[in-house]
Symmetry: C2
Subunit: 238 residues, 2 copies
Amino acid sequence: MAVRGRPRSFDRDAALARAMHLFWERGYEATSLADLTAAMEINSPSLYAAFGSKEALFREAVGLYAATEGAGSREALAAAPTAKDAVATMLRRAVARFVGSGHPTGCFVVLGALNCSAENDAVRRYLAERRRAVARALRARLARAITEGDLSADTDIDALAAFYVTILNGMSLQARDGATRRTLDRIADCAMAAWGSLAASPARSRTTSSARAARRRSAKPPSISRDRRKPAAPDDTS
Amino acid sequence: MAVRGRPRSFDRDAALARAMHLFWERGYEATSLADLTAAMEINSPSLYAAFGSKEALFREAVGLYAATEGAGSREALAAAPTAKDAVATMLRRAVARFVGSGHPTGCFVVLGALNCSAENDAVRRYLAERRRAVARALRARLARAITEGDLSADTDIDALAAFYVTILNGMSLQARDGATRRTLDRIADCAMAAWGSLAASPARSRTTSSARAARRRSAKPPSISRDRRKPAAPDDTS
DNA sequence: TGGTTTTTGTAGCGATCGGCACGGAATCCG
DNA sequence: CGGATTCCGTGCCGATCGCTACAAAAACCA
């Protein structure tokens, strides 16, 4: 069945991309409808007919961002053969995105709605939930590495995931503050140089778990394990 | 000479503290004059007579924050005997501040004006400059450690400072997203566990610099040095 | 006490906010 | 072609934005 009525005279996807860039650069509340309609080259009734509201447009822009810019990180986590490779590739691609040309610096999910008034706090919480999803995905990749024997079961993957999420969030801020690609690369290098101090390698061959525990007690500790640490609270963010 | 005219009927310092908390929680633009006058329990003409404008009030609130909350970090950097102690103490105190009771989570300087419209971009840049000052102070402490023989001259203190600033910024975001003190402590632990991989210890006694260079070339590298790295651009943020 | 100075609360300024009513225009079906 | 349907641009809505004019009130000095 063909469409009835007068056809839309603008490219909805292109207009959404313009809106995403604006929201990405300024944030949700600091981007006005006048800014949006000017950049999208449409009038406000067209915007409301096509997207519903400013908040709905924002959420759709976040979805576009996740489907395009965010795809690389997910792919890196899934495809890398080891947890260390996965994290290193994720950081390297993040740096490339954060200072890439043709779009604002840093991560949209991190910087898109940090300062919100009380009435728009739902928007801030929406992005916060997406950030938690990133943290969960990273933690799940580390958990997979344990089942695959790539990472020792002693590794405190909650702390490890929270640590590298902190690196990601911090680099977004640095990028927005004008950090160069070289600086961000060096930060990522530092974060990966720490890997050996944080992630325990599994026992080489078929040592028993009690043997691993014995080795853990005796050896000079090159890594932080989660001995005597309570599990993270379920509502904790990272 | 005594003051002329009708005396002020409210406590200026207390009103400024209320304003600081509001700006800290919501950010510059998301905090309206109506919010401010309600919290400060004054009318807008009193606010303008006492502080000049919303932006001037914000800058004064930032000054109050730096003089109170920020004092601990500066003191920690200056007083600690070694660079490692300084950074560790700074991180530990930052965590305590980020989730302390009686005020918003995270750092005001980081979270106070991230999303600003074009006309208020000067406010965002003002806080960005304060963040750069923090980075410079940290770097200066690391440079001091080199002159004191506490840190090897090989250490890439630009990268090291940028790395720990990233940790600080990232933890502010995590705190704002609801991270618990325990999570932030573990992140700080991870960051400090990385110290050995990032900071080179100075040669033990009076080895020559050529001897240190030789050792640097031969040994399995336990640290990131700045060999063959260009110095950071002067306008780089960290 | 009268004059001067400064703060106070009321009331409202022009501008902008997100959002929408409305009539004309453009396309479809029959 | 007529009728139905959908989109477009003009114009404007009530609310809120940061900010201020104004006159009464409260302190000082002479």
